[in-house]
Amino acid sequence: MLGKLGLSAIPWSQPIPLITSLAVMLILLGVLVLITVKGWWPYLWREWITSVDHKRIGVMYCLLGVVMLIRGFADAIMMRSQQALAIGGPGYLPPEHYDQVFSAHGTIMILFGAMPLVLGLMNFVVPLQLGVRDVAFPTFNSVGFWLTASAALLVNVSLFVGEFARTGWLPYPPLSETAYSPGVGVDYYLWAVQISGIGTLITGINIVTTVLKMRCHGMSYLRMPVFCWTALASCLLIVATFPILTATLAMLTLDRYVGWHYFTNTAGGNPMMFVNLVWAWGHPEVYILVLPAFGVFSEIFPTFSGKPLFGYRSMVVATLFICIVSMTVWLHHFFTMGAGAAVNTFFGISSSIIAVGTGVKIYNWIFTMYGGRVRFEVPMLWSMGFIFTFIIGGLTGVLLAVPPADFLTHNSMFLVAHFHNVIIGAVVFAIFAALEYWFPKAFGFRLDGRWGTAAFWFAFVGFWVTFAPLYILGLAGMTRRLQHINFPEWAPWLYVSAAGVVILILGVISQVLELVLSIRRRDQLRDTTGDPWDGRSLEWSTPSPPPFFNFAVMPNVEGEEAYWGIKLRAIETQQLSPEPNYQPIEMPLDSPVGFYTAFFSFVFGFAMIWYIWWLAIVALVAAFAGFVVFAWRDEHEFEVSVDEVARADRARREAREAILARLARQEAAP
C-alpha cells in the first residue's frame, strides 16, 4: 500500500536532521497559522498563487531562490566545520550523513538556489526592458515556477522522510546504481531534478520566444539592453541542453527502477557515457547561470557610471560566442578519463578560448567606468567586487583547462576553490547586486544601503578568507569531499577557511537585517519617481511598482538605451511627450493550473520515490485531467478599461513632471 514508506524512513537516531526538520516544520506551521489568523489566504491565492503576471512570478522565483540559498549555506557551514573538527578524528558528522550534506549542498545551491534566482530576474526584467506587457506564454510561466517550487519542496522533504543522495551533486554511476545506492536518496535527487528541469525548460522556451518575437516597436535586436541579450543566450542554452539532463536522468532512472543497462558496470552498460552526457548539460549550465549575471553587470556599470556601456556590439558578440563555445568544452571536467591527447587538446583549447569572450566583457566594463561619474552605491560595490574576484577565478580556470595541470588538480580542493570563485564571484555577487538594483522597481521602495554595504564587505572578505586557503590545500594534495582528515599539517588552512564562514554568516545576517529594516522604514525609502538610479532602459520608465499591464501605451523605441533617449528629450524640452490616446488593454486571466499541476507533480514524484505505484498513477491521471479542464475554458483574457489605463498613466506622468520640475529648479540654482 505504501511501497517502501514506513516509520523507519524518519531518521529517529540522527538528531541533526530530526531537530532541524522539526524546527522547520514548526516555523512553517507558524507561518501557515499566521496567514490563516490574519485572513491572508484569499489575497495570497488571488494575487500570487494563481497570478500569471511575470513580475509576480519573478518575485516568487527570487523568494524561493533566497530561501534555498540559506538552506544550502547551512549545508556549507556544516561541511566547513566538519572538516575543521575532523582533523585526526571523526568530527561530528558520520560519513553517511556528511555525504548527503555535500550532495544536497551542490544540488540545492545550483538547481534550487541560483537557478530560481536567475530565472526570476529574467522573468521580472526582460518583458519590462523589451517594452512588452508579459512573456509569450504567461500561464505556462506560472506552471514552470510552481514545478520548480514543488521540486524544491521534494528535496527538502528528504531531510525528514528518508535520506538524500550520497553521490555528489551529479550522481555518477555505478555508485548511483541500485547495486551501490539501494536507498531512496538518489531517487529523491532524480525526481526532484526532473520536475524542476521541466519548469526550467518552460521558462527557457518562454524567454526565447519573448525576446525573438515580442519586442516592442522600434526595439531591433541591436537596441536591446545587454541583459536581454544575455537572457536570450542563457535561455537558448536551456533549450539546447536541459533536454540532455532530462534524457540522462531518465536513463539512470530506467537503470534503477527496471534494471536496464545504460550506465551499469555489467552487461554492456557504460558509466562514462553518463559522465559525458551529464557534463554536456552541466557545463552549459554554468553559463546558463553566469551569462545573465554578466547581463546584470552590463546594466549596473553604465547606470552607476552615467555613461553608455562601452563596446555594446562587442558585448553582444562576446555573449553569443560564449553561448556557443560553452557547448564544446564539457570534457574538461574529466580529462582524466583517458580520452587521449588529441581529444584532451581540443577540449583544453576550447576551454581556454572562452576566456577571450569573457576578457572582452571585463575590459568593456572597466572602460565603461573610465571617465564616468561613478557612484559607489551597493549594486556598484558588488559589481566591482565581482571584477576582482572573477578575474582570479577565471585565471585559475584557464590553469585547470590545461590537461597536464588538470591531472594534478583533478577533484582536488583547488577545483572546489576555483568553481566557488567563479560561481560566487559572478553569479551570487550579481544576484545580490540585482536584488538591490531592481528591488525598488519591484516593491516601490529602496533598500537601505548601509546594511547592504556591510553585507557586501562581509561577503567579499568572507569569500576570500574561506576559499583562498582551499586553493593552497588543493595544491598541497587535499582531495574534495573528505569526511575526515589525516594530515595535521593541513589544519591551519582548514581553520582559516572555517573562520571565513563566520565572516560570511555576518554577511548573511547583514543582508537579512537590511531587508527587515528597509521594510520597516519603507515610507522613508519610498521611490515615487519610478527611476531611482537614473536608469537607462525601459523598466525605469514605468512607476515603481509597475502596474500589472506594465505600459499604458506600448513604447516606441528610437535608439539604443531606449529610456535614456526619452528622458533626455523630456529634460531638453522641459515637457513630456503629449498625452497618448489611451486604448483598452487585453491581459491574460489568472489561473490555478500551475499550482494544480505542481501539486500533482509533487505527489507523483513522492509516490515514485517510495514505490507507491497506485498513487503515482492517480497523480498522473489527475494532472492530465487538470490540463484538459484548463484547456476547456473559453475565456483566456480580460479587458482593462480605458479609464483604468488612463488613471494609471496620468499618475505616472504627474510623477515624471515632478522630476522635470525638480531638475529645472536644480539647474536654475546657482
Binding site: 525548460l201 518575437k213 533536454p243 536513463m251 530506467l254 557504460n270 552526457l277 555594446y312
Partner: protein
C-alpha cells in the same frame, strides 16, 4: 522609420545627430520587414506566430532529447554482452508496415490541417480520425514487436545494446501515444467549440508535433533498423 515625410537631407542630418556611428540604425537588408512577424523594429508578432514559434522551440528541445538516446544507441550498439545482435532482432517487414502507417498518418494529418484552413469541420475530423487510427496501428505494431522479442527472452535487462534499443524506440512510441491522447482531446475540442482562435493554434502545434515525430522515426528507421539489419 520615423523619418518619412522629411526631406532626405534633414533626415540624414537628424540620423547623424542621433547616432553618429550609425550603430543599431541599419534596417535589415534595406527593406522594411513585414509587420506582425516580430522581426526587426516592427513590434510584437501576432499571437499565432508566437504560439507556433514557441512550439517550434519546444520541438527543438525534444529533438535534442532524442539525440541523447540516439547517442546512447550509437555508443552501446556493440555492447551485446554475449546476447543477441541487432541483426537477430530486426524484422524488416513489420517495420516497413509501421513506417508506412506513420508516414501516411503524417499525410492525413496535413490534409486535416488543409481542411482546418478552409474551416471544414467534417473533413478536419475525418482526417484527424484517420491520423489517430494510423498512429494506433503504428503503436500496436510496435507493441507486438516488443512482446514478440520479450517472448524470445530478448528484454532490455539482457544487455546494454538492448537497453539502448528499447529506450530509443520506446521513447518514440511513448511520444506517439501521448500524441494520440492529445489528438483525441483536440478532436473533442474542435467538435464542441468549433474553430476558435485558440483551438486553431493548438491544431497548428499538434501538426508540428506529429510531423516532428515522423522525422524522428525516419532517423530511427535508418539508424536502428536499416543499418542494424546489415550488421
Amino acid at each position: 522609420m520615423t523619418d518619412t515625410g522629411l526631406p532626405a537631407s534633414v533626415a540624414a542630418l537628424r540620423r547623424v545627430r542621433e547616432d553618429p556611428h550609425r550603430l543599431g540604425h541599419r534596417p535589415h537588408d534595406g527593406r522594411e520587414p513585414v509587420r506582425g512577424i516580430g522581426m526587426g523594429t516592427t513590434g510584437p508578432a501576432h499571437k499565432r506566430i508566437i504560439v507556433g514559434y514557441g512550439f517550434w522551440i519546444f520541438l527543438l528541445s525534444d529533438i535534442v532529447m532524442f539525440s541523447c538516446f540516439f547517442a546512447a544507441f550509437a555508443v552501446q550498439r556493440d555492447a551485446t554482452a554475449g546476447g543477441p545482435k541487432m541483426a537477430d532482432i530486426v524484422d524488416l517487414q513489420r517495420v516497413a508496415i509501421e513506417t508506412a502507417a506513420l508516414l501516411l498518418s503524417s499525410y492525413t494529418c496535413m490534409l486535416s490541417f488543409a481542411a482546418t484552413n478552409v474551416r471544414n469541420l467534417l473533413l478536419t475530423q475525418v482526417f484527424l480520425f484517420l491520423t489517430g487510427l494510423l498512429g494506433l496501428v503504428f503503436v500496436l505494431l510496435e507493441a507486438w514487436e516488443f512482446i514478440d522479442l520479450a517472448n524470445r527472452g530478448i528484454t532490455p535487462q539482457r544487455s546494454g545494446m538492448l537497453t539502448a534499443f528499447f529506450g530509443l524506440v520506446g521513447l518514440h512510441g511513448v511520444h506517439v501515444t501521448a500524441g494520440g491522447l492529445w489528438l483525441a482531446t483536440m478532436m473533442a475540442q474542435v467538435q464542441v467549440k468549433g474553430f476558435r482562435r485558440h483551438i486553431v493554434h493548438r491544431l497548428i502545434c499538434f501538426n508540428l508535433f506529429w510531423h516532428a515525430l515522423d522525422i524522428v522515426w525516419i532517423g530511427i528507421f535508418t539508424v536502428v533498423y536499416l543499418i542494424g539489419s546489415l550488421s
